[in-house]
């Protein structure tokens, strides 16, 4: 039977994620060492798991309120106040979602549709463009640049803004580049957002994985921006809780009220067990974050220095757990480089163009792996680069 007639053309015309292809090849091979996974290698800290188990033992197996357990909503607001200095009302401004992804989907579907344009900086996480397209709105891509460390500038927004533009997505700290917006970078774009009367969807899921002296900044903390911002965050990256599927959205109550309505019909409520565990995470998980951040930070330093030593230039990423080295000096495209590296050295990385055309010439390398694993992978990549250079020299010599 031909099902084409029964399928929504918006979904059939959506390209599958470019990350998938490399996993499929890598899974077929022996002795593969991967630097391609985009989730923490840590397990959820035990005391957090224990509270999940405890809630099950106590028989807490029902739905929660649609917006989430009120104790959790309160803890989220307290956390946001102490970490980012932004105040939200726990009874009107919070929605607990099934991961940050649901919050992104929900916010997009509630805010944009046919005739609207959404500004999406790229390279960025693969979901924004298809989820925007699914609403009927037009994704408008802003190509951020390596020389700016993939930060977004006010000029880049002005270049792409039209009278149809309604929403700007801010994907920082950024997957795949590790780029981060500092306070002054956010302050520089705020007047443009005001000038063109835009709303912002700020995906801050990696905020806790920020490195260096400056503490992480929420876009909502920038003067005048809280009322224009839906903040999306969650527990997956900060507390290594990806499998629990728990995130949240924070924002103006008039928008949140619509999001809760959609969430109520589509999802009902986020997983109950995960919500109990998340309360424990927010109350007693600060030291876990610190420990994991220190570990990521050591790996980050090692990997950035190694790539630069190999001659693959790599700016120092300030957030998330990815580095985004430039491979243009090898003369290969991102796909060629990643394929050849996988075939000859059995190391899996993701080609940069999987995150938008502006990622061409780069590869995404995840350091969410043990140091020994990373060291082995780096040795193989180094051997790969040396062979390429030797071949090039041989050719030019002959």
């Amino acid at each position: 039977m031909n099902y084409d007639r029964f399928l929504n053309s918006k979904i059939t015309s959506t390209k599958p994620s470019g990350i998938r292809k490399f996993f499929d090849i890598a899974n077929e091979m022996d002795n593969v060492i991967s630097l391609s996974i985009g989730e923490p290698d840590f397990q959820t800290p035990w005391h957090i798991r224990e509270q999940g188990i405890n809630s099950l033992e106590m028989g807490k197996t029902w739905y929660t309120p649609n917006r989430g357990l009120s104790a959790l909503c309160m803890e989220i607001c307290r956390y946001f106040e102490r970490r980012f200095g932004v105040s939200y009302r726990s009874d009107t401004d919070v929605l607990v979602t099934v991961g940050g992804s649901e919050a992104i989907d929900c916010a997009l579907r509630c805010m944009v549709g046919e005739g609207d344009e959404v500004l999406i900086p790229q390279p960025s996480f693969v979901c924004y463009e298809p989820l925007t397209a699914m609403t009927g709105a037009a994704p408008v891509i802003i190509e951020t640049k390596a020389e700016n460390e993939f930060r977004l500038t006010p000029e880049e927004i002005e270049e792409k803004v039209t009278d149809k533009t309604k929403l700007l997505i801010l994907p920082y700290p950024n997957n795949p580049t590790g780029g981060s917006m500092r306070k002054e970078d956010y302050e520089a774009i705020a007047p443009v957002i005001e000038k063109y009367d835009l709303m912002v969807l700020s995906d801050e899921i990696y905020a806790e994985l920020s490195y260096g002296e400056q503490p992480p900044v929420s876009f909502a903390s920038i003067k005048g921006m809280q009322e224009r911002t839906i903040v999306v965050s969650g527990f997956s990256k900060a507390y290594a809780m990806t499998g629990w599927r728990l995130g949240y959205a924070l924002g103006p109550k008039d928008i949140l009220a619509q999001m809760i309505k959609l969430h109520q019909y589509a999802i009902m409520s986020a997983p109950t067990t995960a919500q109990y565990a998340a309360i424990e995470a927010l109350r007693n998980g600060d030291s876990d974050i610190k420990h994991m951040r220190e570990q990521y930070d050591m790996r980050r330093r090692l990997i950035v220095s190694s790539f630069n030593d190999m001659g693959l230039s790599c700016f120092e990423p300030r957030g998330a757990f990815y580095v985004f080295p430039c491979i243009k000096s090898t003369g290969m495209t991102s796909e060629e480089f990643a394929t050849k590296l996988l075939m000859t050295k059995h190391v899996a990385v993701v080609p940069g163009n999987a995150f938008g055309e502006s990622g061409e010439g780069f590869i995404r390398v995840s350091y969410s792996y043990s140091l020994n694993h990373i060291k082995e992978a780096l040795d193989r990549i180094k051997a790969f680069i040396t062979e390429i250079k030797d071949n090039a020299n041989d050719r030019s010599g002959a």
């Binding site: 996480f125 220190e294 050591m298 790996r299 090692l302 140091l371 020994n372």
Partner: protein, 161 residues
Amino acid sequence: MKNRLLTLLQENCKFTEKELAVMLDTTEDVIHAQIEEFEQQGIIAGYKALINWEKVPGADVNALIELKVTPKRDKGFDEIAQRVMSFEEVEGVYLMAGDYDLAVFVKGHSIQDIAMFVAKRLSPLESVLSASTHFILTKYKSNNVDLQNFTSDTDGRECVV
């Protein structure tokens, strides 16, 4: 910084001084001096390969021997511990709290070898009251290394986006 350096070396003592300096955000000179200090203080007691002898054909047999001993006046357990650790078959000696006094790890070519060692050399020592020998069948984890590769070869993360 000191504890993090030790933890890194414990994880892999083949990290170069440069790599350690990069990871700990300091200079190679600082790392070099610190390692030298650890060595002098005996905090770093050695660098040895962790060998999984079970994978080597004709490998040795290991046993844990629980020794009950009489401590000596003034010298306590130190004297008998020193005597026991001087046997070349002995790889580890620990003073324990509990049902016995010394935990002694020994290595031999065969079960027979170890049995003879216990009967002829260890048990006859003056302070030894009793010796109970347990042969090690399989090592699952040793020195914090998963010797069976139960965990290290399998990454449970399968999600693709």
